[in-house]
């Protein structure tokens, strides 16, 4: 637990909190996204918004409860159109597949469109390690790739970068004159990326949805780079978590209405692509080969838990990050893994076999702002509570938490024994016989540790009143 020995998580939180420029950048960007969303889901604009959420929740529940059926249906339909579906247990399996294919086809250059799933398995690093060049083509992702950083936010990866930061990155990495006008920066990136698209051997995309009854993947984007990624190179590989499956194409009517609204406040993103297999005879564009790699990477483990399984409903809109007062303070890079914010706090401990940061589920005030905006109604606070309870079950016997555990046992005993509870209250009250602000100095040094010290590091504490409510009530 945080407290005595500040770990990496605590250190990163402290750094983010003390960086005024960063605080401003996060607040402005998330504030804008928050407001845009609110404008398009308000009851005046979208009267059936709450019904859409309920519908999306039910569809996801149905799809996840019948995952095996829909994945097999998807596979059959893709392969009937000449594509191929490969089930991959983890990042190594994905990288092995791509590397083998690249070797067989003599491919060297890969263009990529934005995909959190590939971030999750460090795909670029794995491919580059074997001598392949893998280029991100989403503008934000490209900037971060040049800066050697991870996405800061699920949908706005370079949210923490100002245009001045971007100017530095582009001039340093691409050896071009420093340019602070955003349109001109875009043109610089576009100039480089066009050449990459034309020369690329393989295009790798993610998938926002995989549609079982159509054998299709759906890509949602604003820049058009995903279209180029999936149609210019001769080979298209889509990489998707198995939870992205939805039963029918008609279900997109629900999900597409919710996704762009929740993510960016758009009614629909600029491009929505529906891709089902390689180019067929007579078609003028499209890849010669089409592969869909379906990634597990810890997901099937979640299926075992009836309550926490709803974590898999997530459509990665990022709305919970923008709504979260914790994310808005500590930002994306404080989180231990690629997924940040409320959804990251519940995905990370469940996807990863070894918990990276045991205090992660505790880093929430349980305010519920995330659940309020979630388009598929994931009860994030409830899952955080389950994860907190799980964390205590797995505490090593000598952890610092044993004191906390003892304290809560004492608490539960005291609260079932009203007389003892009252006595304990009187003892505490006697420390503050007079109604003055200096009462805290009379608290015995032994008590002035841990939680009390942590509280006082940030705030004052009112002196306990001379009499409790129950004493005053008796005197009435």
């Amino acid at each position: 637990m945080p407290g005595e020995k500040p770990g990496v998580f605590d250190r990163k939180i402290r750094e983010a909190l003390s960086d005024a420029r960063l605080q401003q950048a996060i607040y402005t960007a998330t504030g804008r996204l928050k407001e845009s969303r609110l404008n398009v889901v308000s009851s005046g604009v979208l009267p059936d918004y709450q019904e859409l959420r309920t519908q999306a929740n039910r569809l996801k529940q149905h799809a996840i409860d019948n995952l095996d059926f829909y994945l097999e249906q998807f596979q059959r339909n893709v392969e009937a159109r000449g594509g191929r579906v490969v089930f991959c247990q983890n990042g190594v399996a994905v990288a092995d597949f791509v590397l083998a294919l690249a070797k067989e086809r003599g491919a060297r250059l890969i263009v990529k469109s934005k995909s959190m799933t590939t971030e999750e398995i460090d795909l670029n690093e794995r491919l580059e390690h074997h001598g392949l060049e893998s280029v991100e083509t989403d503008l934000g992702e490209y900037i971060l790739q040049l800066a050697h950083e991870r996405p800061y936010h699920i949908v706005a990866p370079a949210l923490h970068k100002t245009r001045y930061d971007v100017a530095d990155i582009l001039s340093e990495r691409l050896h071009v004159p420093r340019e602070t006008v955003i349109e001109k920066q875009t043109a610089i990136a576009r100039g480089v990326l066009r050449q990459k698209f034309l020369a690329a051997d393989i295009g790798i995309s993610g998938a926002n949805f995989i549609v079982a009854d159509s054998g299709a993947i759906v890509l949602v984007e604003n820049e058009g780079n995903a279209r180029l990624t999936t149609s210019a190179p001769k080979i298209h590989i889509a990489i998707a978590g198995i939870e992205k499956v939805i039963p029918r194409a008609q279900d997109l009517a629900t999900f597409l209405k919710l996704l762009a609204r929740s993510a960016t406040g758009q009614l629909l993103s600029v491009y929505t692509s529906f891709l089902s297999g390689p180019r067929r005879p007579g078609e003028i564009d499209g890849p010669d080969e089409f592969y869909v790699l379906l990634l597990d990477n810890g997901r099937t483990r979640l299926l075992a838990d009836r309550e926490k399984r709803q974590t898999l409903y997530c459509i990665r809109c990022g709305a919970c990050l923008n709504a979260c007062p914790v994310y808005r303070k500590i930002g994306g890079h404080s989180f231990p893994w690629v997924y940040s914010g409320p959804i990251g706090a519940i995905l990370t401990p469940q996807f990863r076999e070894v918990p990276q940061e045991p205090s992660l589920p505790f880093a929430s005030s349980l305010c519920g702002a995330c659940a309020e905006v979630c388009p598929v109604k994931i009860d994030i606070p409830k899952i955080l509570l389950e994860l907190r309870s799980d964390a205590h079950r797995h505490d090593p016997p000598k952890s610092q938490n044993r004191w906390e555990k003892l304290a809560f046992r004492a608490f539960a005993w005291l609260m079932r024994h009203p007389r003892a509870y009252e006595m304990a209250g009187r003892m505490a009250g006697s420390l503050a016989a007079a109604d003055d602000a200096a009462w805290i100095s009379r608290v015995p040094a032994l008590l002035n540790i841990g939680p009390l010290r942590a509280w006082l590091s940030q705030r004052d504490l009112p002196p306990p009143p001379p009499r409790s409510f129950r004493q005053l009530w008796r005197q009435r």
């Binding site: 637990m1 945080p2 407290g3 939180i13 402290r14 909190l17 007062p325 914790v326 303070k329 500590i330 205090s359 589920p361 505790f362 880093a363 929430s364 005030s365 349980l366 305010c367 519920g368 702002a369 659940a371 509570l385 994860l387 907190r388 309870s389 799980d390 205590h392 906390e404 555990k405 809560f408 046992r409 608490f411 539960a412 005291l414 609260m415 079932r416 009203p418 509870y421 209250g425 505490a428 009250g429 841990g450 939680p451 942590a454 509280w455 590091s457 940030q458 705030r459 004052d460 504490l461 009112p462 306990p464 009143p465 009499r467 409790s468 409510f469 129950r470 004493q471 005053l472 009530w473």
Partner: protein, 244 residues
């Protein structure tokens, strides 16, 4: 006034009992002023939320069982906290979902437990309780009252009928103050930063006092206001409505 009895039990919460007894007395006074007979079951302690939110459901369940024993025969229970009310009416069911006999008790009692402003609006049907407070105030929505119980208009309507009082909404009113129970000490700096964000919003309104439904939010906000040297009072809604 619906057809329920005019007898209510107070569950003042451990925090009000031990730290803010004035809030409990104010709440009792307002209810008596509306003609209710008020009792205080002496065996009451806590709803168990501190243990529940810290990941100790077994300990929370023990405390919840005690609560059920104490209030089983009450006709209506009124609570000066949205968060504790939500613990009882929403989360007790999570604690006992595998214990059918207890679950039946929980479901029956949950129908009769009310957050203070919700009780005034939905049961007592009171808008104007005859209060007077010459002050400019702002209102802080507690997260659980707002998002788990859906209480937003009732306290504002009650405030709008207080003579001499001007309500100035803060922006945003619904963002968390950063308390969060043990979160406030486990992640003290983060919690403190959230509190400072909140008091900035309060200060921007120019109000002289902050009103809320939750003593825990008020403790957090008061602590941060006091640390910042700001002379802005914190008041529970019951204290405002008890003012004459």
């Amino acid at each position: 006034m619906t057809s329920v009895s005019r007898r209510v039990s107070l569950f003042v919460t451990c925090m009000v009992d031990q730290l803010f007894p004035k809030i409990g007395l104010a709440m009792a006074g307002v209810l008596e002023g509306l003609g209710f007979t008020v009792d205080f079951p002496e065996a009451q302690t806590c709803c168990g939320q501190p243990a529940f939110n810290s990941g100790y459901p077994d300990q929370a369940r023990d405390v919840a069982r005690h609560f059920l024993d104490v209030f089983e025969s009450s006709e209506a229970v009124v609570v000066p906290s949205g968060s504790c009310t939500s613990m009882i009416v929403r989360h007790f069911a999570d604690l006992f979902r595998q214990d059918v006999p207890q679950l039946a008790r929980v479901e029956s009692l949950a129908q009769r437990v009310w957050e203070f402003s919700g009780f005034l609006a939905d049961v007592a049907g009171a808008d104007d309780v005859g209060a007077r407070l010459d002050d400019v105030v702002t209102f802080h929505d507690g997260c659980h009252a707002l998002r788990e119980l859906g209480i937003q208009t009732a306290p504002r309507r009650l405030l709008s009928h207080v003579r001499g009082l001007e309500l100035r909404e803060m922006e945003p009113a619904a963002e968390c103050c950063g308390f969060g129970g043990t979160f406030s000490v486990k992640f003290a700096e983060l919690s403190g930063a959230m509190a400072r964000e909140k008091i900035d919003a309060i200060v921007r309104t120019g109000a002289r006092a902050v009103v809320s439904l939750d003593p825990s939010c008020l403790m957090q906000i008061q602590g941060a206001l006091s640390r910042a040297g700001l002379n802005i009072r914190t008041l529970h809604l019951a204290e405002v409505l008890a003012s004459r």
